[in-house]
């Protein structure tokens, strides 16, 4: 098994793509975490793995097949969830297991498979291909723009589906939009951290920022800062110690979370809630 660490030449590429991916993952992830859908990114990534395996099996560049497979299966299962009233966590489990199961079968059927290709998707790799970076930047820009223009509606339907529906917000369509955006985000991030670690970028920066953010905007900006810090530090640690980049990024994000918990419980930083309570008393 080979894990890629960052080399001196690949630092600029890794930084550019890593920062873009961090921004998008933390922004999309905040909505998923608030909807109690934290593992949805993981489930999408695993079903995307089925798509990657299918792409390798038929000999086509697998990423966009993976994207379609992830989004279509997530949308299909969401429809099924609504129709048959199945819980969200069960849907996540189904998506996760089925994608991985299909992927394993397809991999076992693929002749002359370069195992390195599979490892890249499972554990992430250092992104050096210029075309890849352009795609990541373009997709990140589009996703952030969509979130910017729809965030009020997305936030409202995240806060209360019923109230949002009663205000005429197309709640179901907003849900589908979020799934589609999350699907594309997973595909572009899969290259940085891999299928197995993707939910870390969706969840860790957001859970850390929710400890401090008073408003939604504040929480999102803080989450983006945490995610970018984790990625940039992870890349440099990977270069310095010649260890796997994806693991470094995730462990730094986890360290930020643990640090946030310590700072919060020590009372060094007063959060909005605590200030509000103090003022009331």
């Amino acid at each position: 098994m080979t894990f890629e660490s960052v080399t001196y030449e690949s630092i600029p590429h890794a930084l550019i793509s890593g920062i873009a991916i961090s921004l998008v993952c933390s922004a999309v992830g905040l909505f998923l975490v608030l909807r109690r859908f934290s593992l949805f990114g993981d489930a999408l990534a695993h079903s995307a793995f089925g798509g990657v395996a299918f792409g390798l099996f038929i000999g086509i560049y697998p990423l966009w097949i993976a994207c379609s497979v992830a989004i279509l299966s997530a949308l299909g299962l969401t429809k099924i969830r609504q129709k048959f009233d199945i819980s969200s966590d069960a849907i996540v489990a189904i998506l996760l297991a089925t994608g991985l199961g299909a992927g394993i079968i397809l991999v076992s059927l693929t002749d002359d498979l370069d195992i390195h290709d599979i490892e890249e998707f499972l554990f992430g790799s250092v992104i050096v291909d210029t075309q890849n970076i352009v795609t990541i930047l373009a997709m990140s820009g589009i996703i952030l723009a969509i979130l910017f223009f729809t965030y009020k509606k997305l936030l409202y339907s995240t806060f209360s589906e019923e109230q949002a529906k009663a205000s005429g917000i197309p709640v179901d369509k907003m849900g589908y939009l979020l799934i589609a955006i999350a699907g594309v985000t997973v595909i572009i991030s899969m290259q940085l951290v891999g299928v197995l670690l993707i939910s870390a970028l969706f969840v860790l920066p957001n859970v850390s920022s929710m400890l401090y953010g008073r408003s939604f905007k504040q929480t999102m900006i803080l989450s983006m800062c945490f995610a970018v810090s984790a990625t940039v530090s992870g890349i440099f640690i990977s270069y310095q110690f010649d260890i796997a980049q994806s693991g470094c990024v995730v462990l730094v994000a986890a360290a930020i979370f643990i640090g946030s918990l310590i700072v919060k419980s020590s009372g060094l930083v007063k959060t909005a809630g605590i200030v509000a309570k103090a003022r009331r008393n």
Partner: protein, 237 residues
């Protein structure tokens, strides 16, 4: 008429929730809907707000059938039953009020918050408020698009007396000063008698709709209401 409901019937898997309910709401009405648990009050509201679409009969807002267009919803402010707010949801009161806003006019948000006396707390997290304060924020949220009518589904259940009185005072002012029609469901007969100018008494069918004083001065009607409530109460237990 702002709202016109005709022959509304709903059944859930063969069990009647509402049967042949017809009434209207005129401009400026303050209508209290009373009825025991399971009388169909919430079902009525869900139908009016387009949340439940499997019904017979017609519901018209501003002379237009609500099945034809959802545009009427922008003229309605909805305040739900005791809100379930996640304590950790990272949003301020100002953000909660503005997320339902059709425009980006921050002045309207401030005005709505002032009407419910929450403007000084606008930057607090919604999860840090008491249930009573949260309900006032939800009125502000309902007011931000300058609605013609407010729909409130048992809004004061579980709220302390102080906040309940404040809540009713705000509703009274909105109805009297801003001429906003109000339709409000409640178990609290005293509050309905004090505030509402019209009463609708519901127990799957509508057995009274008219002037509030007529209902509360009719001993027969009150007796019938308490008997039905008691029966429903026994049925539920």
């Amino acid at each position: 008429m702002i709202v016109d409901i005709e022959k509304l019937s709903v059944d859930y898997a063969g069990i009647k929730a509402l049967e042949d309910v017809s009434f209207g709401i005129a401009e400026g009405d303050f209508l209290g809907i009373i009825g025991p648990n399971g009388a169909g009050k919430s079902t009525l509201f869900r139908c009016m707000l387009g949340l439940h679409t499997q019904y017979d009969g017609t519901i018209k807002f501003f002379d237009q059938d609500i099945r034809d267009s959802k545009r009427y919803l922008s003229q309605i402010g909805f305040v739900p039953q005791k809100p379930v707010v996640d304590r950790n949801f990272p949003a301020t009161i100002r953000e909660i009020v503005s997320m339902s806003q059709n425009s980006n006019d921050s002045k309207k948000v401030e005005e709505a918050l002032q009407k419910v006396w929450m403007h000084e707390m606008a930057d607090r997290r919604i999860g840090d408020l008491s249930v009573g304060q949260q309900q006032r924020v939800f009125i502000a949220k309902a007011l931000v698009n300058s609605p013609k009518i407010l729909v409130l589904d048992e809004p004061v259940t579980g709220i302390d007396v102080y906040n309940k009185d404040l809540f009713f005072q705000i509703l009274g002012e909105l109805n009297a000063r801003e001429k906003i029609s109000i339709i409000w469901s409640s178990h609290d007969l005293d509050a309905v008698e004090r505030l509402a100018n019209k009463v609708a008494c519901l127990n799957k069918t509508l057995f009274f709709h008219g002037i509030s004083e007529e209902f509360f001065s009719d001993d027969e009607m009150l007796k019938k209401y308490s008997e039905t409530s008691m029966q429903m109460h026994m049925h539920h237990h």
